[in-house]
C-alpha cells in the first residue's frame, strides 16, 4: 500500500482523518507506471459531499476500465487540514496512491454548484498548480472542468484549460488519445490545447476572446485562431445500453451524505419547468432499460454491501416502467433486508401504497413541490401541478394515516406579485383545513405542515435566462411578509415556514449568468480568505462585496438587470440542442402565463431532437410513427 502523504500526527489532529487516506472498498488499485494517462478527479468540496456524487462514480469506473489510464480522486481538504498543509508546505495529493496532484496528466474538476468556485482555487493552489491557466507549463496537469456549471463556464474560464461540455461518458477516449499523441510528439501546451479544441464537446477558453460594450454587456465572443469551433455542442449519451454504469461503486468507510446504491433510471425531464436548468440541459429525456436496471440493482448491492437503494432521475414518476421496477425492488430486494429509499414521487394511490410499505407512515412526511402559491404563478413557471392535484394527493395520504406534509416553494419568480407570494400560506391553509374535514377518529392527530421557500436564481439555458432577479432586500421583505401571513392563517400554529438566506443566492445569481470578467473577483475573494462558500459557517459576504468593489463590477448588473432577448449572452457559444428561439418563445409564454405541454403530450420543437434519440423519438399512443421532433 502507498505510504500516506500525511503523518499520523497530522491525521490524528484533524477532524475525520478517513477523508484523506483512501483505501475504500472498491477503490481501484493500479501501478501508476503501467499507464500512460494519470487522471485525478476532483469534487471541490469536503469528502462526504464529494463521495456522494454519482457522476464521479460513473467517470471513475469508466476511466479505470481503460488499461492505459488510472483515475484517482481528490476532495477539498477541510479548513483544519488546509491550514496545516499551508503551514507545512504539504502539496495536495490523490487518495489512491497519495501522489501529489501536480504530477498527474489531468486534473478533472466537477462543477455542481456555483458556490464551490473558491474551492477550485484552493485545490489548485494547494496542489502547487498556477491558479491562472495562462501561467501553467507542461509540468502542470491539464485542468478540465465538467458538470452543470460548465454550461456557463465563463466566470471561471481563466482557471481552466478545458471544459467538457455535456455528459462525460462520450469523449474521454478521444481526449486521452489526443493527449498521448501530443506527449509523444512533444507538442507545446498551447498546441495540445488547440488539438483538444478539435474534439467535439471540448471548450478551450484561452482560444476565445470576449469584448464588451461600454455599458458592460458582451459585444462579441470569438475564436482567436482559425479552426477553433465557434460553437460547442454538448455531448450526450444516446444509447445507454452501450455505456457502462458502475457495478461496484466506491464504498466509503465513514458515513457520507448518500450512503446507498443509487440507480440512475433516466436522464433528462419531459416537464419543461421554466426555472429548471437541468430540465433543459439534459434534454432529450432518455430512459434506461428496466431489465438492465434490475440487473444493476442486484449487482450493485452485492458489489457494495449497501443495505439501501434509491432511484435517481429528475422526475422518477415519469419513468415508464416505474411500477415494475419498484415492485421488483420491494418484492425481490425487500426479502434480502434491503431498504428502499424512494425518490420524490407524484402522490397517487400507487406511490402511497409503496410508501406505506417501505417506511413508517407516522414518522414520514409527504413532499409536494408546487414551487409557487397561485395557479397563475405556476402557469408562468410551467409547473403542471394544480391545487386540485395537491388536494387530492394530500387527502388520499391523510386518509392513509399521514399527517405531515412538506412544501417547497420559490420566491422572487418572474412576474411574481404580492398576491402570488400570499398564495403560499393560502395553499398551505387549504391543505391544513382539508385535513380537518376527516372525522377525528380517522385522523392521526394534528396536521403538521412545513413550507420552505428559496430565493429564485435565474439560470442559463432556461426561459428565465433573461429574467431579472429580485433585489435581495425586496426578497427579504417578501419572505417576512409571507411568514407573517402564515401566522394569520386559521391553522397557523400547525404550519412552519422557513426561507433561505439571500446573500448566497444573490452571489449564485451573479455566477450563474456571469461573464469572464468575474474570474478576477473570484480570485480576489479567494485570496482574501473565501472558501467553502456553500457552508454557512464559512460564507463571508463582506469579503465578496469588497472583491466586487476592487474590480469595479456591480452584482446588480448580473442579477437584477432584465436582459433583452437579442443580447449576446456569455454562454451563447454553447449549443445544448434546445434553441435560443425556443427559450425566447417560452419566455414570452411565461409572461402571458401560458402553459406548454410536456414532451410526451406534444412536441414543442425545442431543438433537442437534433441528437436523434430519447423522448423525441418515442412512439406516442396517438401516432403511428415516432415524433418527428420538429
Amino acid at each position: 500500500m502507498a505510504a500516506l502523504a500525511l503523518s499520523d500526527e497530522i491525521l490524528m489532529a484533524v477532524e475525520k482523518p478517513a477523508r484523506y487516506i483512501g483505501n475504500e472498498v472498491n477503490m481501484v488499485i493500479k501501478d501508476p507506471d503501467s499507464v500512460s494517462v494519470r487522471f485525478c478527479m476532483c469534487f471541490p468540496d469536503v469528502y462526504e459531499i464529494g463521495m456522494s456524487h454519482l457522476g464521479i462514480q460513473i467517470l471513475y469506473d469508466l476511466i479505470n476500465k481503460r488499461e492505459d489510464a488510472y483515475c484517482e480522486r481528490v476532495y477539498s481538504p477541510w479548513p483544519d487540514l488546509d491550514r496545516i498543509m499551508r503551514e507545512q508546505g504539504i502539496p495536495l495529493f490523490s487518495l489512491e496512491t497519495q501522489t501529489p496532484v501536480r504530477e498527474f496528466d489531468f486534473l478533472g474538476i466537477t462543477l455542481q454548484y456555483e458556490m464551490c468556485y473558491t474551492n477550485v482555487l484552493q485545490v489548485l493552489e494547494l496542489s502547487g498548480i498556477p491558479i491562472w491557466s495562462g501561467e501553467r507549463s507542461l509540468e502542470d496537469p491539464i485542468v478540465i472542468g465538467g458538470g452543470p456549471c460548465s454550461y456557463n463556464p465563463e466566470p471561471i474560464a481563466a482557471f481552466f484549460d478545458v471544459f467538457y461540455i455535456g455528459e462525460g461518458e462520450t469523449r474521454y477516449a478521444e481526449l486521452f488519445e489526443v493527449y498521448q499523441k501530443a506527449k509523444k510528439e512533444g507538442l507545446s501546451r498551447e498546441e495540445l490545447l488547440f488539438h483538444i479544441s478539435q474534439i467535439p464537446g471540448m471548450y478551450v477558453p484561452s482560444l476565445y476572446v470576449a469584448s464588451y460594450l461600454p455599458d458592460g454587456r458582451l459585444a462579441s465572443f470569438t475564436p482567436v485562431r482559425e479552426g477553433v469551433p465557434e460553437r460547442i455542442r454538448k455531448e450526450i449519451v444516446i444509447d445507454f445500453d452501450k455505456v457502462p454504469y458502475p457495478e461496484k461503486p466506491l464504498v466509503p468507510h465513514i458515513h457520507v451524505t448518500q450512503d446507498r446504491v443509487t440507480l440512475e433510471i433516466m436522464r433528462g425531464c419531459i416537464r419543461g419547468c421554466r426555472f429548471c436548468q437541468a430540465g433543459m440541459i439534459y434534454r432529450p429525456t432518455r430512459q434506461k432499460n428496466v431489465n438492465m436496471m434490475k440487473e444493476y440493482a442486484r449487482k450493485m448491492l452485492s458489489g457494495t454491501g449497501h443495505e439501501e437503494i434509491t432511484l435517481s432521475s429528475l422526475s422518477s414518476s415519469d419513468y415508464g416502467c416505474l411500477k415494475e421496477l419498484i415492485t421488483f425492488m420491494m418484492d425481490e430486494l425487500g426479502k434480502e433486508h434491503i431498504n428502499i429509499s424512494l425518490p420524490s414521487l407524484r402522490i397517487d394511490a400507487f406511490s402511497l401504497d409503496v410508501m406505506s410499505r417501505v417506511q413508517d407512515v407516522r414518522k414520514s412526511s409527504l413532499t409536494f413541490a408546487p414551487e409557487a402559491g397561485t395557479q397563475r404563478m405556476r402557469d408562468v413557471i410551467n409547473k403542471g401541478l394544480t391545487e386540485e392535484i395537491i388536494l387530492n394527493g394530500a387527502m388520499q395520504a391523510f386518509r392513509g394515516g399521514w399527517n405531515k406534509v412538506k412544501f417547497y416553494f420559490m420566491l422572487g419568480l418572474p412576474t411574481e406579485t404580492l398576491e402570488d407570494a400570499e398564495g403560499i400560506p393560502k395553499l398551505c391553509e387549504t391543505v391544513a383545513s382539508a385535513y380537518y374535514t376527516i372525522p377525528k377518529e380517522e385522523r392521526a392527530g394534528k396536521v403538521a405542515i412545513t413550507a420552505s421557500a428559496s430565493f429564485f436564481v435565474p439560470k442559463p439555458f432556461t426561459p428565465f435566462q433573461w429574467a431579472p432577479m429580485l433585489e435581495p432586500e425586496i426578497y427579504r421583505e417578501r419572505a417576512r411578509h409571507v411568514k407573517d401571513t402564515f401566522r394569520k392563517q386559521l391553522h397557523g400554529k400547525s404550519m412552519k415556514f422557513n426561507y433561505h438566506e439571500t446573500d448566497v443566492s444573490a452571489l449564485e445569481g451573479v455566477f450563474a449568468r456571469g461573464d469572464r470578467r468575474l474570474s478576477a473577483v473570484i480570485y480576489d475573494a479567494y485570496k482574501s480568505g473565501c472558501m467553502f462558500d456553500a457552508w454557512t459557517e464559512y460564507f463571508d459576504n463582506g469579503k465578496w462585496l469588497a472583491a466586487f468593489e476592487k474590480n469595479g463590477l456591480s452584482m446588480s448588473f448580473y442579477t437584477t438587470r432584465e436582459r433583452s432577448t437579442d443580447e449576446l449572452l456569455p454562454w451563447d457559444f454553447i449549443d445544448i440542442g434546445v434553441t435560443k428561439r425556443f427559450l425566447a418563445a417560452e419566455w414570452e409564454r411565461a409572461k402571458q402565463a401560458v402553459v406548454t405541454p410536456n414532451c410526451r403530450e406534444a412536441c414543442s420543437g425545442c431543438g433537442a431532437a437534433i441528437f436523434g434519440g430519447g423522448v423525441c423519438f418515442e412512439r406516442r399512443p396517438s401516432e403511428k410513427n415516432g415524433g418527428d421532433g420538429k
Binding site: 500500500m1 500526527e9 487516506i21 458515513h255
Partner: protein, 236 residues
Amino acid sequence: MKVRIKYQKAGSFKLIGHLDTMRYYQKAVRRAGLDIAYSQGFSPHQLMTFAAPLALGVTSEGEYFDAEFHSLPCREEFLRRINAQMVEGMEVKDIVLLGEHAKNSMSIVAASDYLITLKDRGIPGLEDRREKLLAAAGTLLEKDTIEVMKKTKHKEGVENIRDGIYKLYRQEQMIYMLLATGSAYNLKPELVVEALCGEAGCAYDVHDYQVHRLETYMRNEEGSLVSLLESGTRLP
C-alpha cells in the same frame, strides 16, 4: 448459529473508528453473501456484537465480534469468502462456533495486551528516551501505587492505575503490557505510557507512540486469562 470472529485491524484502518468498523463488517458480510441473521422489527439489523472498542490510532491483531448466521459454510470457505471482501489492513483470522447460551464477547472481555513502539519522528534524543522508557517498564510495577491524571467528561483527578496493570516489561525494543479491559475496569494503554514517561522523567506526547493490541482475553472457569476464541469450538 452463533459464532465468534477474530480479525486484524492494521495499516490505515487504525484511522477508522469503532462505529465505522462495525459498518464495514456489516457491508462485508453482505458482499460475501453470507447468511447472516437479522433482528425483528420495523428496521431489522444484522445480529452482530463487537467486543472491545479500539481507540483511534491503535492497530490490532486481536479484535473480535460475535454474529449469528442461519447457515454457515465450512471454516476454510467462510474465511475465504469474507477475506475476499476485505481491503488492505483488515483480515479475518479465525471463526469459532459458540453455544446457544454463550455470553456475548462484549460482556466477557477482561483484559488485552499491547506492544508499544516509540516512533522515530525525527526528534533528537530518541535512543536515549527509548532506553529510559524501556528501563522504566522493568521497574514501574515495583511500586504500590502508580498515579496518573485522569480526565473524563465529568471529572478530572489523580487515579491509581496499579491494579489495572497485570504485566509490564521490555520486549526487545518495545514495551509489552497486559491490562484490564472491559466493562468492569478498563485501563487505556496510553495512561500506562504516560505513567512510564513520568517514571522515566521524559515528556509525554501521544504522537510519539504506536500502540498495537495483540489479543483480547476473557477469564476461564479457573480464573485465568484466555483468548476469546476459547469459548467456542472449531467450525468444521
